[in-house]
Symmetry: D2
Subunit: 366 residues, 4 copies
């Protein structure tokens, strides 16, 4: 599919086929206090340490067999150093390098990898300004799948997806579709404005999603649990630790993706989603679901309010020199402005009926 009619993609599709991306594999987060971040990701969330040193901690989820899903690296400012994807073959790393070079993107190749545990990799500054990484070679480590002696009540079992903030969603969507991602769901309005899109390589709702806003920024990184009660336990534990103010939004049921979700904030305000039970998307003609931006069940199936910070706050991303990428303002309508507060509206049933007008929903007061 080409959406260039909607918005010309300044990064023309390369003449060569894109690399065969398997899945989102890990994110490298720059954190300002490694000890505080360790307390959050290891003591509170229970991610498993594969390896750590004075500069970085390598963490993996319960059912992972590659070296890590998350790297916490000490740095001067909180940001994201890499969104890393695994490709199908070693040759796909060469393909990725050539693919981005042809788009005129800056790339950096390291045969020894950019992090411990990972081999030959290429990092690029992609057309949207995000630091993408592609690798095949990676150390295999113990898959803890049946280590129930280590299974916590709120266990995180898989890395599920990334979420990126970009000003021009159709442009980003066209770029990612060219790269081989397929759209599972999106949010639009009757004027054809696209507010967000969910895109996958593995057979889930997404490996990454695009959220309209000033970008490039990282909106969140998501880990999956087995069941809903595991997510509730994470909330209960944060209450017990008296850090409930770090619960930003949820838990709730997403309209988009149908997953049960929770958003929490790490010590640097990097946003983490805990997520479970979306659906299979592996068929070639998997139906794409489009939501009306004014449907107040699109982001929370129960109609609970999306807090403003969830729309406005996100993490900076770094260029290949480790400097924050400058932000480009979103010029299309803002989902927050068109849906909540004085100027916006949402409906529970069809527009006009305004099932949501009663005063009791927090959010109506925003």
């Amino acid at each position: 599919m080409s959406v260039s009619a909607i918005n010309p993609n300044p990064a023309p599709t390369p003449s060569i086929a894109p690399p065969d991306i398997v899945r989102c594999a890990y994110m490298e987060l720059i954190v300002t206090d490694l000890a505080k971040s360790r307390a959050f990701y290891v003591d509170v969330l229970g991610l498993h340490i594969t390896e750590e040193d004075d500069d970085a901690i390598y963490l993996r989820s319960f059912e992972e067999f590659i070296h890590h899903n998350l790297v916490l690296r000490k740095g001067p400012i909180a940001a994201v150093a890499s969104f890393a994807y695994r490709v199908r073959t070693p040759e796909d790393v060469d393909v990725a390098e050539a693919y981005y070079k042809e788009m005129g993107c800056r790339t950096e190749r390291r045969s020894g990898g950019f992090t411990k545990g990972v081999g030959d990799s290429v990092r690029v500054e992609d057309p949207l300004g995000f630091p993408y990484e592609f690798f095949y070679h990676v150390d295999h480590v113990e898959r803890l799948t049946q280590r129930y002696d280590l299974y916590s009540a709120g266990e995180l079992v898989r890395l599920d997806h990334f979420n990126q903030v970009t000003p021009d969603v159709p442009r980003g969507r066209a770029y990612l579709e060219d790269l081989g991602f397929r759209v599972s769901e999106d949010i639009k309005d009757s004027d054809g404005v696209t507010y967000a899109a969910w895109m996958h390589r593995k057979q889930t709702v997404h490996d990454t999603a695009l959220t309209g806003g000033d970008g490039p920024r990282m909106h969140h990184v998501a880990f999956a649990t087995h069941e809903k009660h595991n997510i509730i336990q994470i909330c209960d534990k944060m209450g017990a630790l008296r850090i409930s103010d770090r619960i930003e939004r949820g838990p709730g049921r997403h309209g988009v993706s149908n997953a049960f979700y929770l958003y929490i904030l790490d010590p640097d305000d990097h946003r983490i989603e805990i997520y479970t039970q979306d659906y299979y998307t592996g068929d070639p003609d998997n139906p794409t679901v489009t939501w009306d931006v004014h449907d107040n069940q699109r982001r929370d199936w129960w109609g609970n309010a999306v807090v403003p910070s969830w729309y406005t706050e996100a993490s900076l991303v770094l260029d290949l020199d480790g400097n924050p990428q400058p932000l480009t303002k979103r010029t299309d309508s803002s989902e927050m402005e068109v849906t909540i507060g004085a100027d916006g509206f949402s409906y529970t049933r069809e527009p006009g009926e305004k099932g949501g007008e009663k005063g009791f929903k927090v959010g109506s007061q925003l």
Copy 2:
């Protein structure tokens, strides 16, 4: 215990022992459209019909063996006709009648009962203005406990408690303690103002609770589920039916009671709580838990906001002639005013630290 130092109870404790109350047993709700209410309680919530006619529907929960836990009766205005308690012996009905007569309360005795399925009963207008009922004789019906062929994904298995709005909580508490209720938890401030109290006869956190506000009014009636996912399913189903605007608050974890909860509204705006997993309170010295009104985890352990309507809205109650009781204004501080909005404050950790000051919690914006 006597709290008369805090607030003299105009209804002096009778000279006789109070009736031996076993538990809250059923509520009689006046609804304005029986068909709409049936759709809500039977089709959406799945309560089981014991009996119905053109004027009333008698409903019970899955594990109940008495005739009903809820009566829906058609009437001109939405209200509550009775908060009914079961007593231990037939003689306790005589005791209850005498007890309230000695307090100077209006009483009405009906050997045939006030509803189908219930025998000899007394209804009273209690010192707080609520229509209380006491009965022992009741028809036994099939207990559906193992009828898993009828078990819905959001099954309501027990009536758990009532919640009443009254202006003077200490006065109401003293009256109910005299009546044999014991306090499991309460909410106070450093000035000694009591905002709410939870009181039980059966071995759970409460059979009824008192919430400070203009009263007498009925704040909610609560049904229990087996597990947390049952409550999530009720939210998911209301979303599917496009009535998410009838989800007022939650789901969440209570601070008080530790139960997992949800508040929804019926077609007449009667508030229903779905509730699961509080704790055992049967020991004579069960510790009473007192919460600081400024602790923002007291009503939601995750610090999620209590919506204003939850504080302000409640159902009228009827006198023995079926007329709405006039309301008395609360003169003590309002929990809503002291905790949210411009004039109030809440804390996540200890006061001063203001863990909750960050902008992202809905509620801070209220």
Copy 3:
């Protein structure tokens, strides 16, 4: 109710009222290797240590506020030193002492208690040969109810009940009914033989149960979890620890009590049940459920086989000198013999139809 018609009770009901028993409170287990037992109860099951020394470990469940629910005491042979019940007032300890003295039972009173954390207590050798204890005074400790930072995936939240093996169930039942227990469920056959009975003081299905067999012996002690998945996690963890051979029976759904259950064995073969979601029994006329011994859903609602060891194995109990009580053989029919193997039968539907005769159920082969 009197069952003396069925079987004369050699211990005549005392002339005085029995003590007011609140609930089963703790069991004192004699274990032969304290370190091994600690590994099982603390490291595997996650019970919380209130106090420990070289001779004993005092453990409590997550929602308990009294000093302990289980005492592990080092001793020469595996046995049970006490089935301890909490009574409503200090005076009830005097009543208990007098009550058993009048029955001609040996009693021992200790104002300082028999274990740490417990005050004035009396222990008796009851008419069935069991070491019963009654106490009121007990140290209060931190109730961990909202300490979700300590909440394990298989958390045990309450002590639920004891289960005792005795040869003459009707005699034992009459004795316990005189003591104030009420029968919630039982298992009988058409000849009037009683195979087991469940008896409660608190508002659950039981505080203790009587299982027909050579006695006096302790069949099991049961702890409750919040939800079913917590029990599954205990199985999964025992699999991960390669001690699945210590899972004796289950998990499954009981017919009797309707609870979801699991039976496991500690290092001394003391049997522990993990149990969740039985039902409220607090009403004075709570219906008693009687099961046919030949109904193969009575002990497992899914018709899964009861393993022979579950019928035949149990723990010795001690007299007040610490010597094992001699066993009296059961003379009534054996539930195992009448229900499984060559001579017994069970049915899935009504007798005759023999829905269970197909070959695929393990147990048919026993």
Copy 4:
């Protein structure tokens, strides 16, 4: 990988690439009493009817968007008419036809499909004697994913996999690997005998598995639920309906696949598995897990016995004329014989220790 060293594959790999199989899509079951089967699959299991007539019922799971996952067709003898796989493109149907023709297999092509809702398809009698079907064109129907108003407590949300009985597992494995399946797990012994293998196309543990035994026969077809409690509800409901004798095995936790499982039997003794929570297998180097046949946690992580019928009973499969395929005896060792009963053994810990020898596990008695 080639296993021809283990066992020469009489069906040489075709010269052309195999069809690109997406996933197992549906099974066509021949049932002898359509009304009885409808009661089982619709009333008990809650599968959703897409379409039905006097000869057949077309059923789908909750999250399915293609016409059906299961066809129940009335016929003279209980059997399986087709194991149907969806392929990636219309052309893959041509490829499949050519691929099997080159192997010398009988094929039948129908441009209008073999069942309602499905278009151009090819059915083949594969080298192992199974009726395989390949199709791309299929009607899209309402995906019920968020129709929580239709969500039952034991809802089946996806078709997960098939399981086939074949005498020579290595031969079957080689054939399926040539066809593009990848092995996630298998069961072997120290002599190199393979007892079973799990093979996938979609990113789960399997789309089909091979179980060693007299074949070709269909061992079971499996549907997935969201959570473990959904499976427990199915057991509870079957108990309530007094058909617990149709629960053959489980519920339990598999060693292989790590899924929580249940096996039940339909009115014709076709075996259905209910299955949840295996793991992601989409990476090109997903580690293959090999289990020792003597490890008694391989098929049940909790060491619970596999009932003999589970090893011995299976459904016949039909040739393209609708006649049952003759069975070929397995000549390799039988998993049942080497693991249970007088001649077999299993271990809980390492061999020799024989942690399982204690008498309490049913199965030891078999």
